[in-house]
Symmetry: C2
Subunit: 360 residues, 2 copies
């Protein structure tokens, strides 16, 4: 089965091998993983890369590299976004130069549901408060609408380096607003290497596999700009899937996602309805074991639980028929609500700072 990559789609990406082959991605090698003590690397969540070797070299030499990612301010953040931010915070801890883009203009121009730029900015306040609470500092972040002239000028410079034909081939449309979003995203990734910012330096941006067209066009443009810069590097996530079967975790389908703003009752209710792939009866589950490979509870642990021994134990006990779905869900609710209680207290504290970062 072949699968068409679509950066704005919402289908779950399942056919990784095909994608690797067709798009020339490199599988994430073991020798890199050894140098990166974070669950996202150990647990097969980051599965591929482009040019990440240069960043590994910088990390080994304890030299700085560019750590760049962004979130579109299109709504509340969920645990899928948390994975991106966790990775960013991890790279920050390795001594990176940090560029966390809060993409208010991007969200406004490319999303129909965001009808004014003011709306995008209100969402930005919320998103920023969460990012700060997950370990970012004010100096690590920027809002697209509050960037320097040089950045905007650069988005226009980029526009000259994409032909209509290339753009059409990659994106299959020439929607004017979405073109603007693409130009901003490319500027976000490359601009840290301009002399007015950190300068020439290997960079890494974590993206979903379905966003590889963006990565490729960005790398292509980087080669053709009149500046001495490194071709931007990327690492590729497996996306955390939604709580329902076969769905991506998505803000536009709230029942598929645990949001970082969710109340304990909402978490409990969503987890109780989550797909586990468990057997029809407790007896059958005891006898045949569960199926953690397709279980959304197990996936939540795999993506978010800090303790690999615990996650592994859940896996094996489920398989062995020792862990029933009901108990598993109860534990998971406790895990999530424990995390969220502490996190949401920080969010409340960080809210005034976030508002100031957006509105001055």
């Amino acid at each position: 089965m072949t699968q068409k990559l679509n950066p704005w789609g919402s289908e779950e990406v399942t056919d990784y091998e095909h994608i690797f082959k067709e798009f020339g991605l490199e599988a994430f090698p073991e020798k890199f993983k050894e140098k990166l003590s974070h669950r996202l690397f150990g647990r097969e969540i980051i599965v591929a890369h482009r040019d990440f070797g240069k960043v590994i070299d910088r990390i080994s030499l304890k030299k700085p590299f560019i750590n760049m990612t962004g979130i579109a301010t299109s709504g509340k953040l969920h645990f899928g976004h948390k994975v991106d931010i966790d990775l960013f915070v991890f790279f920050k801890s390795l001594g990176a130069k940090n560029y966390f883009a809060v993409c208010d203009i991007d969200a406004y121009v490319s999303r129909q549901k965001i009808t004014t730029i003011a709306e995008a900015k209100e969402i930005a306040v919320n998103n920023l408060a969460h990012a700060l609470s997950l370990g970012l500092e004010e100096k690590d972040c920027y809002l697209q609408s509050r960037k320097e002239q040089r950045y905007y000028e650069f988005t226009f410079e980029i526009s000259k380096k994409i032909t209509e034909k290339t753009y059409q081939a990659v994106y299959g449309h020439t929607d004017i607003g979405k073109i603007q979003a693409v130009l901003l995203q490319i500027a976000d990734i490359i601009h840290p290497q301009l002399k007015e910012y950190a300068g020439k330096m290997p960079s890494v941006t974590g993206i979903g596999l379905e966003q590889d067209p963006h990565a490729k066009i960005t790398r292509d443009i980087a080669k053709r700009l009149p500046y001495d810069i490194e071709i931007p590097g990327f690492v590729y996530f497996k996306h955390q899937s939604g709580l329902s079967k076969g769905r991506k975790m998505s803000s536009s389908e709230p029942e598929t996602a645990i949001f970082l703003d969710d109340k304990p009752e909402e978490v409990k209710s969503k987890i109780s309805r989550a797909f586990t792939g468990g057997r029809d009866t407790v007896e059958e589950q005891r006898k045949k074991g569960g199926n953690p490979d397709i279980c959304k509870i197990y996936e939540l642990y795999k993506f978010h639980h800090h303790d690999s021994k615990f996650v592994s134990r859940v896996y094996h006990e489920c398989k062995a028929g020792k862990l029933m779905c009901g108990d598993d869900k109860k534990d998971c609710v406790a895990f999530l609500n424990g995390f969220l209680k502490e996190h949401q207290e920080k969010v409340k504290e960080n809210m005034p700072k976030a508002r100031k970062m957006v509105f001055g």
Copy 2:
């Protein structure tokens, strides 16, 4: 004969009636001209308008209005550009709020011959020095690449208000760089009415008839933006034609244009080769008279000579066979070089200021 309007074309526009009819422009009325004591209105050079009545009302009440125009920094300025700047300076003298855009980003993204943004900025220095010497002040001008965040943000807001279909219908392409130029041009015209600038106010921008597609899309977007603003007004120029027969005055055909940087010898040489439509022999010219309606020397006077009596005398003496082309050209060289000597001294003086405006 019908004529297709093309904002990036270079054909001389001749079929005005057809254009008025097809595009719904209003011919410039006599009652407006009476209130505007400037040669461009008296001499049938400004031929049409959209919504200029609101500006006339403001002028009558001695209230401010927005005066907006721009030049793309694509090369040296010629006498065709001077007409735009002269009109702008006239509106400034009537108490307008002035927004003179020096379009360095626009020129870079939409013109193939400008290969770096640095090149566009060097041209901007030259163009600005000329604009200052023609009567503008520093506070009247801005460089696109040195504008405020709000302006850039606004270009992105605009992108959301043009559908792919509309864009294609108006421009017939979706060249990414040219789309950016269009967005900037629209922002240039509308942004003065944002609350961060002059606020809601009737505005006027002088453009060539072939640029009406820009005007229409700009007016359409102004209606659909979430801001309380006036629909921008426009006045339409007849373009000064080139020195050769049937050509528009254009930087890309240097032999057709007198540049504001031209030396006396260049002016003399170009005028000596200019098309006059004169008779084959002096005898025939004396007998039948000349044809000022197609004469490039007469046109230069009509567009640029301050003294309407002089211009009228040239017309009638030519028609009557009293003025020979050779003498006419000699006078014209003296007129142009007299103007340019004084002007170029001012340009030299203004150059450091212009450089500072571009590079800080």
